[in-house]
């Protein structure tokens, strides 16, 4: 699995967990039950499990921001699993602010990579699964949970006709298992439906674009609004969900007074872009806002 496939795999699971391709690094939720309580980040690290303390400790050790400094003071409460944090609005606001910091995003990426993605890849390797889609299925089981329960119930890979057949069987079994649990867990069986669709479409290599649970994952969507230094800006085009970001705002600002400035590349923005491209001399023939349009707009 290469880096792009890894990003796609994580994006798929992000869609399942947050409805967003890149996840919601700022998401703060209070979960019910003794094992939950305050949860945070794109994959809902919980206070009750002790993992939230580990994540924040990693963040605070790397970040020198003011938010990190304030959260540092609350670290003992996270260590002690102080459930009064569930209702501490000040701390919850700090966590939301921290989610916008690249350092927190990096900390979360590293945390989830070490605690979930890497173990999932090892488990997949142990099970003989090498296809990126199969590895994504196993990663999803590590994020949502249940791999340890279901994997021992699976037959050996060589007895079911190979890797793809094994993954298909596992997806079926996992869907049945989710549906056997009490609500709201049966409602999450859509994850398996999404994987089944990808298998039916033979998307074993996670070739882009692909649509999961109504969300289309593209390279542009994966790159986000703030491309890494040195990398070219993403091409803006109409997709679902709409692309958003500062780069969209910049384009909207150049499209004239009729344009909105909400930073959403929706159908209205797309119409304005196409009108601009058509009215430009010479006309620009480009799908979305690519290098030519961007240059014509003076960006």
């Amino acid at each position: 699995m290469d880096d792009l496939q890894k990003s796609i795999a994580q994006a798929i699971v992000n869609v399942f967990e947050t409805g967003r391709i890149l996840g919601d690094y700022s998401a703060v939720t209070v979960l019910k039950g003794d094992t939950g309580h305050l949860s945070y980040g794109r994959s809902q690290t919980t206070l009750g499990s002790g993992n939230l303390y580990k994540l924040l400790l990693s963040y605070c050790q790397k970040s020198t921001s003011n938010v990190a400094g304030q959260l540092q003071n609350s670290l003992p409460r996270f260590l002690q699993k102080d459930f009064s944090l569930d209702t501490d609005i000040g701390v919850k606001n700090l966590l939301k602010q921290a989610g916008a910091e690249p350092m927190m995003r990096a900390a979360q990426d590293q945390f989830f990579n070490e605690n979930f993605f890497a173990p999932a890849l090892r488990a997949a390797d142990a099970a003989g699964i090498t296809q990126p889609l199969g590895q994504t299925v196993i990663y999803d089981s590590h994020i949502q949970g249940g791999w340890g329960v279901l994997q021992p119930q699976m037959p050996a890979l060589n007895t079911v006709g190979g890797e793809k057949a094994w993954i298909a069987k596992y997806v079926d079994k996992r869907k049945a298992w989710l549906q056997s649990l009490k609500s709201p867990l049966p409602g999450t069986a859509y994850r398996m439906d999404s994987f089944q669709t990808l298998m039916d479409d033979q998307r074993w290599n996670l070739a882009l674009p692909l649509t999961v649970h109504g969300v289309t994952i593209t390279a542009e969507a994966l790159s986000g609004g703030t491309p890494a230094a040195g990398s070219p800006p993403r091409t803006l085009r109409l997709m679902s969900p709409y692309l958003r970001g500062d780069d969209v705002k910049q384009v909207q600002a150049k499209l004239g007074p009729d344009s909105s400035s909400d930073g959403v590349y929706g159908p209205f923005t797309d119409v304005l872009v196409k009108r601009f491209q058509a009215q430009h001399v010479p006309a620009i023939v480009e799908d979305g806002v690519g290098p030519q349009t961007r240059a014509a707009l003076g960006l």
Binding site: G19, L31, G36, T46, V149, Q151, K182, P184, L185, F268
Partner: protein, 720 residues
């Protein structure tokens, strides 16, 4: 040759005359007067006479000897009477020599002679040729239970038939007259029987048992030989005792032979004795059944079976079985004896035979000895969870020869003892035959062998309680936790979405308005979620709302791009924003649902990693034993004890050694390889009932079932 004529003697004429007068004058006193006068006259005028020979054969002759008779005197008359009737035709006489006709019935005849105006009288017996005597042998057997209820045809044909209980007899002896059966006279209980000799074959059949085959009253007989007479239809008297006599003629012998018709035979008495024994045993069973005492083994109530149960091991006890069998045999045989003596024979209450305490003592001694050995040496293995008949010959499910031999000897001894008693019919039984010394010795040796084997054998495992912690299956643990999960919290996304909705301007374009309305509908749909099942539906509807809203936004954009424009830029922008807001809202809802499901999923995921302990409580639980669940081994490699070793924990050791009273098996699924984990999940993954077995190194084992979840909150067995 003197010709006999029937004439009244002088005395008789006078009597007749007087009687006529008496009848006329004093009718009530006449009889008395006549009798007195007749007696006086006869006594005064009749002298005894003798005969030579004193008894005569039919066809022979006899000489009448008269005392003081002048020489040449002849009899005035010679009258011979039989049963008061003058014999007619009269036998021929030559002087005082009388010839007996060949067809004269046997019997005693009164001879009256008058000579020289003096009357003489005497009795002479007419016997069969040869002057033999009937000799009746004692009956063998002198009793019977077989009677026949026959229909009797009355002499008056106008009267209805009656029934009579009769019996058939076989008389054995000597001197029976076959050629002329009427010569054989039968008396029963002093009554001369009116025998019918010619119709035996026709009458003495089963036909008389039907009313259509009714026969005349009185017995029928057939002289089989001089040594045997068969009788049928002999009426059974109320006393059921028959005093049977046989002789020639009409002189009833002084002594007869006794015969008894019993109203109960061996089978009936045995059945009654059995029923009484069963009733006594049933009384015990009834008390146990009606009583509040209950004992449960693996959920099954044990009441009357408690009698045979060794509650220490929950197995059937051989020593108790032996004790009860011998006790019942003693009761049965004594009841048989009692009924025979008291009700059949009419004798007194029989004393307890000396042999009974001995056989009951063997059973009691074995039972007590068994308890002593168990207390000293430890209990046998409990074997299967529920007691079964195999317990009588096994110890901890291992076949024990010492138990087999005692089991067999007990069954044989009881059977032989009862059969031996029944060999004596209730009519003649006088006591219970003692068990032969050799047999008593053998049974004692058998019990000693049983106790010796019990003492030599190692104690076996007994599981009184088995507890699995946690008691729920992995699935139940997962579901039990998820059941506590509340609905996803959509409040925050809904507040944000409502705010966004309010921020949108009023529009006139239909597509823009549709996009905004669809966004509003999605918010309402989320607010309408009241049950966990609504959550899954919301996910589906949100996808639909999102698709419709994006389509409407695209339509508004198209309207904006149309020439002339059908929508303003504000309207197209508002539609785009509505679709974008709905995408955000849908993502927030998805995230909220995922967040709400996280604790349930964590529980469900961790259920399979919960370490389980199986704790056995009982006795003689070997730490080196083999433990099975559902007939599959639980290998030591799957265990982890408190020291971190792959072995069970002896939580409470029993008198040192390798036995424990509390034995704990701990399984940590996180440390199992795939194969063992699969076995672990097969055992504990789903709700199920399993049979667990602990087998000690010597092969004795104990079974105990358990279920996930536990069937009751109480231990698997209890006494209340």
């Amino acid at each position: 040759m003197t010709q006999f004529v029937w004439t009244f003697p002088t005395g008789s004429d006078r009597i007749t005359e007087l009687m006529g007068k008496c009848k006329l004058v004093f009718p009530l006193i006449a009889g008395l007067c006549v009798c007195l006068l007749q007696g006086a006259v006869l006594a005064a005028e009749t002298n005894p006479l003798t005969f030579s020979p004193p008894q005569v054969s039919r066809g022979g002759s006899f000489q009448i000897n008269l005392p003081k008779l002048k020489e040449g005197a002849t009899p005035t008359f010679i009258h011979i009477y039989h049963d008061g009737q003058l014999v007619n035709p009269a036998p021929k006489a030559d002087g005082f020599n009388v010839e007996v006709p060949a067809d004269l019935p046997l019997g005693t005849y009164q001879v009256q002679v008058q000579a020289e105006k003096i009357s003489y009288s005497g009795d002479i017996a007419v016997r069969p040729p040869g002057n033999g005597e009937i000799k009746l042998d004692p009956f063998d057997p002198a009793y019977t239970y077989e009677t026949e209820n026959i229909w009797i045809k009355p002499q008056d044909p106008k009267r209805p038939n009656t029934q009579s209980l009769t019996v058939a007899l076989t008389l054995r002896g000597s001197g029976f007259v076959k050629d002329n059966p009427d010569d054989n006279t039968i008396w029963i209980n002093g009554i001369r029987q009116n025998m019918k000799w010619g119709d035996y074959a026709a009458v003495c059949s089963d036909g008389a048992q039907q009313e259509s085959g009714a026969v005349p009253s009185g017995p029928s007989g057939a002289v089989v030989s001089a040594e045997e007479i068969d009788l049928c239809h002999v009426t059974v008297p109320a006393t059921r005792g028959l005093d049977v006599k046989a002789a020639y003629g009409d002189i009833e012998p002084a002594a007869g032979q006794k015969f008894t018709v019993y109203w109960m035979n061996t089978a009936i008495v045995a059945i009654i004795a059995f029923l009484i024994t069963a009733a006594l045993a049933g009384l015990i069973f009834l008390l146990l059944t009606l009583g509040k005492q209950t004992y449960k083994i693996a959920g099954e109530d044990y009441k009357w079976r408690l009698l045979f149960l060794d509650q220490q091991t929950d197995t059937y006890s051989l020593s108790k079985l032996q004790f009860y069998l011998w006790t019942l045999a003693a009761i049965f045989t004594y009841t048989y004896l009692y009924i025979g003596k008291v009700f059949v024979q009419g004798a007194g209450w029989p004393d307890i035979p000396g042999t009974l305490p001995g056989i009951v003592g063997i059973g009691a001694g074995t039972a007590i000895g068994s308890q002593v050995v168990t207390a000293a040496n430890g209990a046998k293995g409990s074997g299967a969870e529920k007691p079964g008949f195999l317990d009588f010959i096994t110890s901890g499910s291992v076949v024990a020869p010492d138990r087999i031999q005692m089991f067999l000897w007990t069954l044989f001894g009881v059977f032989a003892f009862c059969i031996g008693v029944l060999q004596k019919s209730p009519g003649i039984i006088s006591g219970i035959q003692p068990v032969p010394d050799g047999m008593m010795y053998m049974m004692g040796l058998s019990s000693a062998g049983y106790l010796g084997g019990k003492m030599a054998r190692k104690p076996g495992p007994v599981i009184m309680e088995l507890t699995v912690t946690p008691g729920q299956s992995d699935d139940a643990l997962a579901q039990g936790t998820s059941a506590a999960i509340d609905l996803p919290d959509f409040s925050q996304p809904s507040v944000v979405a409502a705010s966004n909705l309010n921020s949108l301007p009023n529009v006139a374009n239909a597509n823009a308005q549709k996009a905004i309305d669809t966004f509003g509908s999605a918010i309402k749909a989320a607010a309408a979620v009241h049950t966990t099942s609504d959550v899954a539906n919301l996910l589906t509807s949100l996808t639909s709302f999102q698709r419709d809203c994006e389509s409407a936004a695209a339509g508004a954009a198209t309207d904006f791009a149309a020439a002339p424009p059908k929508a303003s830029s504000q309207e197209a922008a508002a539609a785009q924003q509505a679709a974008a807001f709905l995408q955000d809202f849908s993502a927030d809802v998805t995230q909220a649902i995922a967040a709400a499901a996280a604790p349930a999923m964590e529980a469900a995921s961790s259920a399979g990693s919960v370490a389980r302990t199986i704790e056995l409580r009982g006795s003689n639980l070997s730490t080196d034993g083999t433990f099975e669940i559902g007939h599959a081994d639980l290998p030591f490699r799957m265990l982890v004890n408190q020291d971190g070793d792959n072995a069970p924990d002896a939580m409470a050791r029993q008198d040192g050694g390798n036995f424990a009273t509390v034995l704990r098996f701990t399984i940590d699924p996180a440390q199992l390889d795939a194969t063992d984990l699969a076995q672990y999940q097969a055992w504990f993954g789903q709700d199920a009932k399993w049979l667990a077995s602990l087998t000690n190194p010597d092969g004795q084992k104990a079974d105990q079932s358990f279920s996930l979840p536990p069937e009751t909150a109480t231990p698997t067995q209890q006494g209340t």
